[in-house]
């Protein structure tokens, strides 16, 4: 099968990762997956405001996901939307299990994710960037988190859906994965798949995550060891 952009079924879009793009943040990263570009910045650990939201035995991990108005063909209204709230929540949950939050009781770690350019797979790109930014900020973590979507077009299982593919497929399954501890921290699904298909698609996505993990390691090394 030939894909829209000439990739193989199990091939992801060309991906580049840059760490340390925002000098004023404690940690930052930019991830480009094809035409999707995500920039993440981490501030903290710092004091949690409002104070009544402090948690006595661990830190708050605040993730703020936003698409900038010019990120796709329609103008995106700035501010929270139903969709962005959902993505904030799943991103937070995907990262929470990787961070040693109990090291900083009552504090807050703020993660800002901005999608500069959107072409499917923004939450995956956002999680990849955020995990890099957290590591760059020197926040204690169990593992890095890599994330990618996979799906099924016709009879074929495909990795990293992009552009029109996402609209045409039967399904789309974003997944976030901690490669060293082999744990899944995000699993969503649009459309429907049989249980066997889900297994196959998940396997494919996990393979993709492992590739991304290698790139993440390289990107971090490039930033710190010159």
């Amino acid at each position: 099968m030939k894909r829209e952009d000439g990739r193989k079924a199990d091939e992801m879009r060309s991906t580049t990762m840059t760490v340390g793009v925002i000098p004023n943040a404690n940690g930052s990263a930019m991830v480009k997956m094809g035409n999707t570009v995500a920039v993440a910045a981490v501030y903290g650990p710092r004091e949690m405001h409002p104070k009544h939201k402090q948690i006595s035995d661990r830190a708050n991990l605040n993730t703020i996901y936003a698409m900038v108005p010019f990120s796709c063909t329609d103008r995106i209204r700035p501010g929270y939307s139903r969709r962005s709230q959902e993505i904030c929540k799943v991103t937070r949950q995907a990262l929470e299990s990787a961070v040693f939050l109990e090291d900083f009781p009552k504090a807050a770690i703020d993660v800002y994710i901005n999608i500069i350019s959107a072409n499917a797979g923004t939450r995956a790109a956002g999680i990849n960037a955020a995990s890099l930014a957290l590591a760059d900020a020197g926040i204690p973590m169990r593992d890095l988190v890599a994330s990618i979507a996979a799906g099924k077009i016709g009879d074929e299982y495909v990795l990293d859906l992009a552009g029109k593919e996402e609209e045409e497929t039967f399904c789309d399954l974003p997944l976030a994965y901690m490669p060293k501890s082999k744990k899944i921290t995000l699993l969503q699904m649009d459309g429907d798949l049989s249980p066997q298909d889900v297994k196959k698609v998940m396997e494919l996505a996990i393979k993709g995550c492992e590739q991304l993990y290698k790139m993440q390691k390289e990107a971090l090394k490039k930033r710190w060891i010159k």
């Binding site: 000098p23 004023n24 404690n26 940690g27 903290g44 650990p45 710092r46 004091e47 990787a98 040693f100 900083f104 009781p105 009552k106 504090a107 590591a135 760059d136 900020a137 020197g138 926040i139 204690p140 973590m141 169990r142 593992d143 890095l144 901690m178 490669p179 060293k180 501890s181 993440q216 390691k217 971090l220 090394k221 710190w224 060891i225 010159k226």
Partner: protein
Amino acid sequence: MAELIKKEREFVVPGDEIVKSMDYLPGRNCFRAGESICARKIGLVSLSGRVISIIPLSGKYVPKVGDMVIATVEDIPGTRGWVMDINSPYKAFLPLSGVRDFIDTNRTSLDKVYKIGDVVYAKIHSMSGFDMIDISMQDPRARKLRGGRIIRINQAKVPRIIGKQGSMISMIKDRTGSRISIGQNGYLWMDGGDEKMVMKAIDLIDTEAYKNGLTDKVSKLLGEPKKPAPAKEVKPAEKPKEEKPAEKPKEEKPAEKPKEENA
């Protein structure tokens, strides 16, 4: 003993397995997962005896008792003391007992001593719990910082800027003729002398922090020592690592507030 998976001084990212053996112990910035010891932060592996730890490359300042920090007055709640910002996740408190002189709170208001925005060089005195940090001026090195400028540096690289036994910092001070105070919390205060050269030296240390021959490179950058360093009294009683209290305020200087800057 089992072989290390990552060599000493090798770069690791969070989650990287360093050794799979119960013969070793996880130290600073490491954790045990099953049988193996893994890294918690990006950094370089370091091994001392059986203890494996990670030298961090970034991260916020975590206060430690005895550290000298550069702190800014943020608030004065009542007459108990001052709330200070020390560039860590939690605020520090400077109680009245931490100030050298006796202050009669009935007669003098606390902002006559330190007002909001003032910057001091102080010691972490005690920590009761993670977010109850008391700092103190009861130390020969502690003082109020007047004039000069403050630059922000990577907290993880402060030990490099100080150098072994304070070798690096005393060299910079000698060669540039600048008065310098380093806070462990990632702030550096300097006044007078060749400030531009100090910044250049700090930049060099920042980019090449973990390479060999750093002292030589910095020495080359700074060039030959200039005129004898001004106003530096030798106090043999002091620990060599830290700052000399740069006393001797040179004639009345208008007390301007230090500007904060990004390094």
